[in-house]
């Protein structure tokens, strides 16, 4: 499979065949449009929450907006399949009413379905990046613009957008990277066979078995990712972190913006409503119309031995990976929160890179590496992958929490006779505990939900998401919907617990922690 000699042959192959680089360009364009749409549709919503909602209600809005994303990634896709898929509810509806040319098409085939699903899946990335920059803006700047004669739209174009550009660009790039690396959604929604670059890459490791070429394709992608991240870094700066939106500033009403935001929330909850409907639908095949109400499917969930087994695997993986990450991540965070300067940024950079890399690339890197040293894939390769994914999350969250603490407290402890270790264990760590617990909960949720990387690095073991994926492809039973609803309820409880834990303690930490909890990118 792999020829162990240095060669550029795979790269020449890529650039000399029109079909290959054309796929890259075509994908980039498609994903670029989808990302721009995501950012464009999300921005008004983020703007509304950051500037028009009263400060004390803002966390509620954020949690409401991001909560749907703590459901399994596959389940969200599944819900959209039922809405937009080639046999989905909307196409049924269009055919029923005799709409010509259903499914509706902008990109041909069913690509608009993918775009809508992508917009939905990537919403939190773009929402939180926009939200954070808008909220940090000094609101008096907009007043100053109005005061100097700028009408609202002029203030938007000349002040808000330029100042918030960092968040917009970051949102765009995160969306772009995540979408480029997603090979599952297009496969499940359908309509993009041979169209997207991610599918091209995974095909080399799957049916085509051309690892060398696949690796070359992945490397080209990785280079593109780094270039994008550098672009983002270059575009940063220019934001002034002064002031917060206080009550006095948010009083001007914005009825259209509010209406839009409420509709947007509805859009976010639509798939969840669909799921719940399907789970209680008594029709024996999954899908619409609703024939009656039953709880039969919930009972059926736990009768499937494969499901039980995959759930066990998932729990083992999650507990072990999260345990490892919490120990290593906390230690790293303690060190990081004390270091300064270049060393710190370097370490933070290295630690957080896995957060920005698409799991597709991480997964491929792991299997290529393991293959090179001749190790079989198995349970522990999944573990390794999950530690890689959860470690940066834990480290970052604990660093944020530790740095939110007043450094003088440890100095005070030292002044009162505590040795450095004592000061750490008795003053800082207890205060960071809520952050650590919240980080563990979130890491747990991420691990339980991970599919893209797990699918690549697994041997014969199936985690719950792998089971669901299989079930989605081969045996569509309403039990899947019931299982989804159960998982959904479980995630909601987990996230709300994490939120409560993370926001207890200092008032200053409150909103930051709230954002951090909801901010962890999912997928």
């Amino acid at each position: 499979m792999i020829v162990h000699t240095w060669t550029l042959e795979n790269y020449t192959k890529f650039f000399s065949h029109y079909a290959y680089w054309h796929t890259l360009l075509q994908s980039s364009l498609f994903v670029g449009i989808a990302s721009a749409l995501t950012v464009g549709l999300t921005f008004p919503f983020a703007y509304f929450v950051a500037t028009k909602v009263r400060p004390e209600r803002r966390l509620v809005w954020i949690v409401l907006a991001v909560l749907p994303f703590w459901t399994s990634y596959l389940i969200r896709v599944f819900a959209w399949m039922n809405l937009l898929g080639e046999a989905g509810a909307i196409n049924h509806l269009l055919i029923d009413v005799g709409a010509p040319g259903a499914p509706f098409g902008l990109f041909g085939d069913n690509k608009d379905g993918i775009v809508i699903t992508f917009v939905y899946l990537m919403f939190p990335l773009s929402f939180l990046t926009s939200y954070i920059t808008i909220e940090r803006m000094n609101p008096a700047m907009l007043e100053a613009a109005a005061d100097l004669g700028g009408k609202p739209w002029q203030a938007l174009v000349r002040i808000t957008l330029p100042v918030a550009r960092m968040g917009l660009i970051a949102g765009f790039i995160f969306c772009f990277i995540s979408m480029m690396g997603d090979y599952v959604t297009p496969q499940l929604i359908g309509g993009t066979e041979g169209f997207l670059y991610s599918t091209l890459i995974t095909n080399q490791f799957g049916s085509s078995i051309q690892w060398g070429f696949g690796a070359a394709l992945a490397l080209i992608f990785a280079v593109a990712v780094f270039v994008l991240l550098l672009v983002m870094k270059a575009a940063s700066g220019g934001t002034q972190e002064v002031g917060e939106y206080t009550r006095a500033y948010s009083e001007r009403r914005a009825p259209f913006l509010r209406l839009y935001s409420v509709f947007f929330l509805c859009f976010l909850y639509m798939p969840i409503v669909v799921l719940v409907l399907l789970a209680f639908n008594s029709s024996s095949s999954i899908g619409f119309p609703i024939r009656g109400i039953t709880t039969h499917w919930f009972a059926g969930v736990f009768e499937d031995p494969l499901l039980i087994e995959s759930l066990e695997t998932s729990l083992v993986v999650a507990v072990t990976a999260v345990g490892t990450s919490v120990v290593l991540g906390t230690l790293a965070a303690i060190q990081l929160s004390r270091s300064r300067g270049r060393w710190r940024s370097l370490n933070l950079g290295i630690l957080t890179i896995p957060l920005f890399l698409p799991p597709l690339l991480l997964g491929l890197a792991i299997i290529i590496g393991l293959n090179a040293i001749g190790i079989e894939r198995g349970l522990w390769t999944i573990l390794l992958g999950h530690v890689l994914l959860t470690l940066p999350i834990v480290t970052l969250m604990v660093v944020i929490r530790l740095e939110g603490l007043d450094r003088n407290q440890e100095l005070a402890a030292a002044d009162l006779g505590a040795r450095p270790l004592q000061a750490l264990l008795r003053v800082s760590v207890p205060q960071a505990a809520p952050g650590i617990i919240a980080a563990a909960l979130i890491a747990f949720a991420v691990s339980m939900d991970e599919f893209i990387l797990t699918y690549l690095v697994t041997g014969t073991n199936a985690t719950l998401p792998l089971y669901i994926f299989g079930a989605l492809r081969f045996s569509l039973s309403p039990s899947i919907a019931a299982l989804s609803v159960l998982l959904l309820g479980f995630s909601f409880v987990l996230v709300i617990c994490g939120l409560i834990v993370a926001t207890t303690g200092s008032r200053r930490n409150r909103r930051n922690a709230g954002v951090a909890v909801t901010a962890v990118p999912m997928g």
């Binding site: 008096a140 700047m141 100097l148 009408k151 009550r247 006095a248």
Partner: protein
């Protein structure tokens, strides 16, 4: 005579009966259920709104600037009713407390923003920006980034950005609050100089009474959403109307008690102390009266000195003697339980004045001020309340 002046000098700003309550708050930020806030600012005046935080001064400024809409009342600028006009529709410009400079623009672009919005052509804009930057002492700063400026320079840039549009009223929201003392003094002088040059009307919000006195032509003192007194700085010190004003600008020690009066004489009798003097004419008809013992008029004698006719005094122990940089301030705690202060020049202080010695502190009756007691009916800062 009075009518004629009014025609000649139309008010630059008239606030009529303003009332404001922020959503979700039970108390009014400005005015109350019974009455709103009204105030007139004359053409070319430097008018200060002075009060502690939460007194409504910033709310007033925001309503004048168009950033907040009053629940009730009107704002009239140069005779034109502008209450519901947006900020970009009225001829006011604001220097914000946080400066609110646009971080993505250079100093020149910041200052020229208002002109650009107003459709002023590039050549004229540049000339005016240069001129105003020179005026505020930032010549040659056009190409600088705002993030490169020091606090004082940012303040000047913000001032230039507001001034360049030649607003009918320039609003200043505690613009000197973030500066150190020396810089603040400099900027105060500069504001007064600018005002002299431009003939613009200034409305200045501050919680610093020294700053207000140093620069303002007239001061409105605010408390809990109401304007208590509007006067020139000198008049405020010479004739405060309420005990709140006397305490806020730190004129003297307030003595509350039961008042007894004849036509031109008044006695305020607190616990163990009786203050008497001549009440101002406007005080007639007010039931709750308090006496103010001005720090600047206090005399100090050894405690065994004879009482001087036509004076009121108390005996107490000197608590501390501080040198404020210009005068000595002697703080004494009297047997009656008051903390009284006497300000003395260096020449007037004798060597016996030191902490721990007892002294008699007294005021000639003519120097004692009588004011309305703003704490009547509520519990005051002092232990004495009127028993009406």
């Amino acid at each position: 005579m009075r009518e004629l002046r009014k025609v000649e000098m139309e008010n630059a700003l008239e606030c009529r009966n303003l009332r404001k309550q922020y959503p979700g708050q039970s108390s009014y930020a400005l005015g109350d259920a019974d009455r709103g806030v009204s105030v007139d600012v004359k053409q070319g005046e430097l008018f200060a709104l002075l009060g502690p935080s939460g007194c409504g001064k910033t709310t007033t400024l925001r309503i004048v600037g168009g950033f907040a809409e009053p629940d009730d009342g009107e704002v009239v600028i140069n005779g034109e009713e502008v209450t519901s006009l947006p900020p970009y529709g009225r001829r006011t410009n604001t220097v914000f407390q946080s400066y609110a400079l646009f971080p993505h623009m250079r100093v020149g672009a910041n200052v020229g923003f208002g002109l650009k919005m107003g459709g002023v052509g590039k050549a004229e804009r540049e000339a005016r920006v240069r001129a105003v930057l020179e005026q505020v002492g930032l010549a040659d700063f056009e190409r600088r980034r705002v993030t490169e400026l020091s606090g004082g320079q940012q303040q000047r840039a913000a001032l230039a950005r507001a001034m360049v549009n030649e607003p009918a009223i320039l609003l200043l929201d505690e613009p000197l609050g973030a500066l150190d003392l020396k810089l603040r003094r400099e900027m105060q002088d500069e504001l007064v100089r600018l005002k002299g040059r431009t003939k613009m009307t200034f409305v200045h919000v501050t919680h610093d009474q020294e700053e207000a006195c140093a620069i303002a032509d007239r001061i409105a003192i605010m408390d809990r959403g109401h304007i208590i007194q509007v006067d020139t700085p000198v008049a405020l010190y010479r004739e405060p109307r309420t005990s709140y004003v006397a305490e806020f600008i730190n004129i003297g020690t307030v003595v509350r008690g039961r008042a007894q009066r004849s036509a031109d004489w008044i006695e305020v009798e607190g616990e163990n102390v009786r203050i008497e003097g001549r009440p101002p004419a406007w005080l007639n008809g007010h039931a709750d009266v308090a006496a103010v013992l001005p720090h600047s008029r206090a005399r100090i004698d050894p405690s065994d000195a004879d009482e001087i006719a036509g004076s009121c005094g108390m005996v107490g122990v000197i608590d501390r003697v501080t040198f404020t940089g210009s005068v000595f301030e002697i703080v004494a705690r009297t047997e009656e339980g008051f903390e009284v202060r006497a300000e003395m020049s260096e020449d007037d202080t004798s060597s016996w004045i030191r902490p721990g010695t007892s002294a008699r502190i007294w005021w000639p009756n003519k120097d004692i001020l009588f004011v309305k007691d703003s704490n009547a009916g509520t519990s005051g800062q002092q232990r004495w309340t009127t028993e009406v």
